[in-house]
């Protein structure tokens, strides 16, 4: 039975440029098989590797789609016309290579699956997605928990710390039983319990200019939960260089910020802050404190934004900086625009590879005054022998209220320059703070003011609590 097969324009070069080819066969399957046998270059375009007709190749017999007839088995008679009709499809995602969901996963994600904006395809996208969390701390904790619960297939976490009791007020992924355990191990265990279908990839390291590109490269979305400027600039620049979205969050006391920096479609962190603040000017949460719920809110916003990016729904925080004030419970939004002169994502970038971010942020090793330091044990001995000295506490009053070394006098570091006259410049002074750095600054101030005999308690009151007097609580 000879039929005429009409060839669409794009395939004609594979049949010697002909618009129609006569082929024998009893049904559509046979006709196509003979056609591909005769014109071998055509086969790849008609059939997938498994031998089935490609999804975008449609076949009509005399104007009727064989999907509505008997598909391959549709009989043909002499004189029939078989038309190959393209359907044209494409798009930005890869539906047919997305992983499938098991029955257990379908049940687990049912509240997502019934959401039209997520659905089966969205959930499969989540499963295929790889999100990297920089830090498993205040922001990383809620972000990791929600991303894991939502079914993000692979979570990478970069951290190098161990769980400390003082983390637990906000770092809700860790628990009391994990004190002393590595944060990665602790987070991994918790994630596996929340959702065993999530794969956790851990990177027990500081993120550095040497390893950042390699670590970030394999992830789709990066969520920055760092608490220091060098790493924040490093994450930003690495994301710009790799063309990845950076879901940013930061917190301080009662204030939070969030945005999505994606230099392909909007500004990056450097468009917002081209230069870091002078080192030491902006206190970290360890110095300034933070209300524990705040990272829960901001970290959850980061998780939400990461999920929106993966699903491709809604309007991401690209080009917008969200400001949150927990005390007034107000959200404000600033419009951000791309800076054409941005050194990393502008039109003529000067930063084309990762740089030394410690130096960029002016971070120099803390000056040490070893000869002017006193250890907790030495201080204890001096006090016991009745040596006359002024014990100067340079922390904040609320810290003083939590714990103090008996006999200490409180002058917060910020007030020190104005209250020097309260100190006798002939007495020996031992300054202390929480861990040491503010004590060093007090030492510098007092020295510059001409106090000859000043020392700093190494390790601060924390060293005193652990080494000398356990009745003084650590915080």
């Amino acid at each position: 039975m000879t039929v005429t097969v009409l060839i669409p324009n794009p395939l004609r070069p594979f049949v010697s440029g002909r618009e129609a080819v006569n082929v024998d066969g009893g049904n559509v399957g046979e006709v196509l098989e003979r056609l591909a046998g005769e014109y071998t270059a055509l086969r790849k375009h008609l059939f997938a590797d498994d031998g089935r007709l490609r999804s975008f190749v449609n076949v009509y017999v005399n104007d009727r789609d064989i999907r509505h007839l008997q598909r391959h088995e549709t009989p043909v008679a002499a004189g029939d016309t078989v038309t190959i009709v393209p359907s044209i499809a494409g798009g930005t995602a890869v539906a047919d290579t997305l992983p499938k969901l098991s029955h257990a996963e379908i049940l687990r994600y049912s509240r997502h699956l019934i959401l039209p904006d997520v659905g089966l395809e969205g959930q499969r996208k989540l499963k295929a997605a790889r999100v990297l969390l920089i830090g498993a701390g205040g922001l990383g904790s809620p972000a990791a928990l929600y991303l894991a619960a939502a079914g993000v297939g692979t979570l990478g976490i970069v951290d190098f710390d161990v769980v400390d009791e003082s983390n637990l007020q906000r770092q809700i992924i860790h628990g009391t039983a994990q004190i002393g355990v590595s944060k990665l191990e602790s987070a991994k265990q918790r994630i596996q319990d929340v959702n065993p279908y999530v794969r956790v990839e851990t990177f027990e390291t500081h993120l550095t200019s040497e390893n950042a590109l390699e670590i970030l490269r394999d992830f789709d979305v990066v969520a920055d939960g760092t608490d220091n400027f060098p790493t924040r600039y490093l994450v930003n620049d690495a994301c710009v260089l790799l063309g990845k979205p950076n879901v940013y969050g930061s917190i301080f006391r009662f204030d939070g910020q969030a945005s999505v920096f994606d230099a392909r479609f909007g500004p990056c962190y450097r468009c917002l802050y081209s230069e870091p603040p002078p080192a030491g000017l902006v206190p970290s949460c360890a110095e300034g404190g933070v209300l524990g719920v705040l990272p829960g809110i901001i970290g959850s916003i980061q998780a939400m934004e990461a999920i929106k990016l993966i699903l491709g729904v809604g309007e991401p925080l690209i080009g917008r900086l969200l400001l949150f004030d927990a005390l007034t419970l107000k959200f404000r939004e600033l419009k951000l625009s791309k800076d054409p002169n941005c050194p990393v994502c502008g039109t003529h970038p000067t930063v084309t590879k990762l740089i030394d971010y410690q130096a960029f942020c002016g971070v120099v090793p803390e000056p040490t005054y070893e000869d002017s330091e006193i250890t907790a044990r030495e201080l204890q001995r001096d006090l016991e022998t009745g040596r006359s000295l002024v014990l100067l506490d340079v922390r904040l009053p609320n810290e003083y209220e939590v714990a103090r070394i008996p006999g200490a006098r409180l002058i917060p570091l910020g007030e020190l320059p104005d209250r020097l006259k309260e100190l006798d410049d002939h007495s020996e002074i031992v300054a202390y703070c929480h861990h040491g750095p503010r004590g060093v600054r007090a030492l510098e101030i007092l020295r510059a003011a001409g106090f000859p005999r000043v020392r700093n308690l190494r390790g601060g009151i924390d060293a005193w609590s652990t080494e000398v007097d356990k009745t003084v609580p650590r915080y």
């Binding site: 669409p8 324009n9 794009p10 395939l11 004609r12 070069p13 594979f14 270059a41 790849k44 375009h45 999804s55 975008f56 449609n58 009509y60 789609d65 038309t83 009709v85 393209p86 359907s87 044209i88 499809a89 494409g90 798009g91 930005t92 995602a93 890869v94 539906a95 047919d96 290579t97 659905g119 395809e121 392909r264 479609f265 909007g266 491709g312 729904v313 690209i318 080009g319």
Partner: protein, 145 residues
């Protein structure tokens, strides 16, 4: 290899991509093969048939293709290419685009960043389906059709 079209047609393609945002917009390009190049003389906008995920997929149903093909036939034109938009994604073919592509057609992709048409680039699938190659978009004075 190149796709040749008028500035007006390219502007129309970009306009349609912006109108469709945040969904993908798509259409067929009618014209004729010109040696190794494809000369576009008419655009046939098509409604994106993907109602399930129009933000990241487009589909031109075979019936629509056939209808467009027949309309072009009357003027002796062929379908020589396809255009579609990538909302908030670069103007590069995705793996899905590649998997679904036809050879010897120009695939113009317009990146739409937050509603504004950005890059437009054109791609052609290798004859052995071994990936897309970029081809130049050549702008010519509008050709009467």
């Amino acid at each position: 290899m190149a796709v040749i079209l008028s500035a007006e047609h390219l502007a129309e393609i970009r306009q349609q991509a912006e109108t469709a945002y945040p969904h993908e917009g798509c259409g067929l390009m009618g014209g004729a093969n010109d040696g190794d190049a494809r000369r576009v003389t008419r655009l046939v906008p098509v409604l994106n048939a993907r109602s399930d995920s129009p933000r990241n997929r487009y589909l031109i149903e075979p019936d629509d293709f056939l209808r467009a093909q027949r309309a072009l036939d009357r003027d002796g034109l062929e379908v020589v290419g396809v255009y579609h938009s990538h909302p908030d994604h670069p103007a590069r073919p995705s793996a899905f685009d590649e998997e679904q592509a036809w050879p010897r057609l120009s695939y113009i992709i317009v990146s739409v960043a937050r509603g504004a048409a950005a890059d437009a680039r054109s791609w052609v699938l290798a004859d052995d389906r071994g990936g897309f190659t970029e081809e130049p978009i050549t702008i010519e004075e509008r050709v009467a059709t």
